[in-house]
């Protein structure tokens, strides 16, 4: 019955068993793996942002960021239809609309569209609009030099704002794209720690 004890000594052997520290060491190493994976979960956040940035997924890349200088280079041989969509999140008591629902544009030419918003509530709001572009592969070709979505907007009770958006469609837009939908959703950002889009 008494076989030689090799590395696999019984767990609770009281007499100087070498296995005890080893299993604690391995247990500790595995615990570190678990802690690292918790960190990895958080690392997915910047990783996701990075992947969206380079692929244009969710319309969150370059095309929707503020650019100081975009050169016009009109391609008058081509016409693209740009549609505007406005939404107020969570049925908040706001009015939000675009001055026109759609626009025919030549790629490479600047256009300015005005959006209007009004806070119908009794209280003040900090509002943040988030842009989105459909189809996804058009997102990086929408170039904007001015937009209300680049910063949170203060709306006092009853305040009415007219907000211009100045944009052009990059002539490099893939040829199969004929219609681009530019959508804005206004969110209540009161009390939110704001990060950059």
């Amino acid at each position: 019955m008494s076989e030689p004890r090799t590395q696999s000594a019984p767990a609770e052997a009281p007499a100087g068993a070498p296995a005890k520290p080893r299993r604690l060491v391995r247990g500790g190493q595995l615990l570190l793996v678990a802690v690292a994976m918790f960190g990895f979960g958080y690392a997915l956040v910047p990783l996701y942002g990075f992947i969206c940035d380079i692929t244009g997924l969710n319309g969150t890349n370059r095309g929707l960021k503020l650019e100081a200088q975009v050169d016009e280079a009109v391609d008058s041989t081509r016409t693209v239809r740009v549609e505007f969509l406005t939404t107020v999140n969570n049925n908040l008591p706001w009015e939000f609309s675009a001055s026109q629902s759609s626009l025919e544009v030549h790629p490479g030419q600047f256009h300015t569209v005005t959006f209007e918003a009004r806070n119908l509530a009794e209280r003040d709001y900090l509002a943040q609009a988030t842009p989105s572009v459909v189809p996804w592969n058009a997102a990086q070709y929408v170039r904007k030099t001015e937009c209300f979505c680049f910063s949170p907007q203060d709306f006092a009770s009853g305040e009415h704002k007219i907000m211009p958006v100045r944009f052009l469609i990059d002539p490099a837009l893939p040829p199969e794209v004929e219609t681009i939908t530019l959508s804005y959703t206004f969110f209540d950002a009161t009390g939110l720690a704001r990060s950059d889009i």
Binding site: P10, R26, V33, G41, L44, V45, N58, L192
Partner: protein, 548 residues
């Protein structure tokens, strides 16, 4: 050789008397028993919740519950069944069997094991207490997608902390299993001589270790989004709700293999016993499980084909998902090849294992259908999805757990269950699980959405059949509970031999039945006839002979 309780002077005490035995215990058999009881209670609670769902869906219109409560039931049913039913049941089986299968006296970290179990009642106490709160239990689905889940009322922090506790329990269990398997095997037990149940748990434990912390991170982000002004998933602050789906399913897809890999191990143990042959393709079984585990990390977005992904991503996730069918097909092939020309008998554990092979494969095929991205746009969030994952979870994971309990309970208690009641339990379960879930394929293909308390009248017939099946299936499980409790636990059944099954091999069958409180205080000598894989003896495939 006998490994009966060879009590030396350090271990001449049995278990402590009274309730403190269970609270203070670090014994793997006691904790296995606690896990299994806990799991059984959760199965019945979760089952009652599903009956609320099926009662409401018996007819179109609202009969019994309000939509808000219906949503609470679907959410809680899933959380209770996944984290309270299936996972603790597998951990309980691991507790009982892994030390006895690899030939060591206990798990590597017994006190951690005690702690891992005893935080579970608190986790589910937190979760179930939300049913009695103002605003009710979480109702946004077990997937907890923001922004909807952020509208949960007072129940929200209870949900998050319950999941944190379940995660800690799973991670400690996983660490314990890995250390036990890697550090404490009997001397001759090389990795490729381990029983496949042990292999399946080793791989499962690594999956748990890799993804449970990611879930913990995701729900912590939800918590800080709701209460501390962060904007991980809040669009107003620059976050993205779709990102939650990516993080969640990065956890969620390995999670579904956590729920099925131990089942593969159980079935790979039971089928050779009752076919009286060695398992066909032992090595390929190990490699198949490892492949499935690896692939599970790169297929998550097939849960979100309709979220708006570029074509290249749809194609990648579609093909990667279909690739999983290859190692899974290898496993099904090997189970069938194991039975080929075997001397088969059909005791209850074998019936449940065969039911598993047949019905799990149906669930696998509907999974392949769902993997086809272009048609998934029709199936997505329909009852077809509900039918699919219930086929892999109920006649899949749950049948394997039932099979494992029938198979090993004579070893645990020393008494056989009643075979006739077992057969009745199997046939009624097998019939009514199909009555319950097969019609849901049709309702789903016809367009019935999931998570809806009311439906268009053309879905009525399928729902009536499904509800009848669910109620009968639930009642039939009391036959099983009676059989287990009266015949095995209260010891009214026939006494079991130490081998229990004629064709059973493995170290656990070398100890007496019931297994003594302490087993393998000294490492056993591994007889080659107890080895499951072909590594034991390359010339002796049809093992019937006694060890020399």
């Amino acid at each position: 050789m006998s490994h009966a309780a060879t009590h030396d002077e350090h271990h001449d005490h049995g278990p402590e008397a009274g309730i403190m035995r269970w609270i203070k215990t670090t014994n793997h058999k006691d904790l296995g028993t606690l896990y299994l009881w806990f799991s059984m209670i959760m199965f019945f609670i979760g089952g009652l919740m599903s009956l609320v769902i099926r009662a409401e869906l018996f007819e179109p219109g609202l009969q019994f519950v309000q939509p808000e409560f219906f949503n609470q039931m679907t959410t809680m049913h899933a959380l209770v069944m996944i984290f309270g039913g299936v996972m603790p049941a597998f951990v309980g089986l691991a507790n009982w069997m892994i030390p006895m299968m690899v030939g060591c006296s206990d798990l590597a970290l017994p006190r951690v094991n005690n702690w891992g179990f005893w935080i579970l009642p608190f986790a589910f106490g937190l979760l179930l207490s939300t049913l009695f709160m103002d605003g009710g239990a979480p109702a946004a689905g077990w997937t907890m997608y923001p922004p909807l889940v952020l509208q949960t009322g007072d129940a929200f922090p209870f949900l998050i902390f319950a999941i944190h506790l379940m995660g800690i329990s799973s991670i400690t269990g996983a660490i314990n299993v890995i250390v036990t398997i890697l550090n404490m095997r009997a001397p001759q037990m090389t990795l490729l001589k381990m029983p496949l149940f042990v292999w399946s748990w080793l791989i499962t434990a690594y999956l748990l270790l890799a993804v449970m912390p990611v879930l913990a991170g995701a729900v912590t982000m939800l918590l800080t989004d709701k209460y501390f002004g962060t904007s991980f998933f809040t669009a107003a602050g620059g976050g993205d709700p779709v990102m939650f789906q990516h993080i969640f399913w990065f956890f969620g897809h390995p999670e579904v293999y956590i729920l099925i890999l131990p089942a593969f191990g159980i079935v790979s143990t039971i089928i050779p016993t009752f076919a009286r042959k060695r398992l066909f393709g032992y090595d390929s079984m190990v490699y198949a499980m490892a492949s499935i585990a690896f692939l599970s990390f790169i297929v998550w977005a097939h849960h979100m084909f309709t979220v708006g992904m570029p074509l290249a991503a749809e194609l990648f996730f579609m093909f990667a998902t279909m690739l999983i069918a290859v190692p899974t097909g290898v496993k099904v092939f090997n189970w069938i090849a194991t039975m080929w020309r075997g001397s088969m008998t059909f005791e209850t554990p074998m019936l449940f294992a065969l039911g598993f092979v047949f019905l799990f494969t149906i669930g696998g095929f509907s999974g392949l259908m769902l993997a086809i991205a272009p048609v998934d746009f029709q199936y997505h969030d329909s009852y077809f999805v509900v039918a699919h994952f219930h086929y892999v979870l109920v006649p899949g994971a749950v049948f394997s757990i039932i099979a494992a309990i029938y198979y090993w309970i004579p070893k645990w208690t020393g008494h056989m269950y009643n075979e006739r009641l077992g057969q009745i339990h199997f046939w009624l379960s097998a019939i009514f699980i199909n009555v319950t879930f097969f019609p849901q394929h049709f309702a789903g293909l016809a367009g019935m959405p999931r998570r809806i308390p009311d439906y268009a009248t053309q879905f009525t017939d399928w729902n009536v059949i499904s509800s009848v099946g669910a109620f009968v299936y639930f009642v039939v499980q009391f036959v099983w509970a009676y059989n287990m409790i009266v015949n095995c636990i209260m010891k009214k059944g026939e006494p079991a031999t130490s081998r229990v099954w004629e064709g059973a091999h493995g170290l656990e069958w070398t100890v007496p039945s019931p297994a003594p409180y302490h087993t393998f205080e000294e490492p056993p000598v591994l007889d080659e006839s107890e080895v499951q894989g072909a590594h034991a003896d390359e010339h002796q495939h049809e093992v019937q002979g006694k060890p020399a």
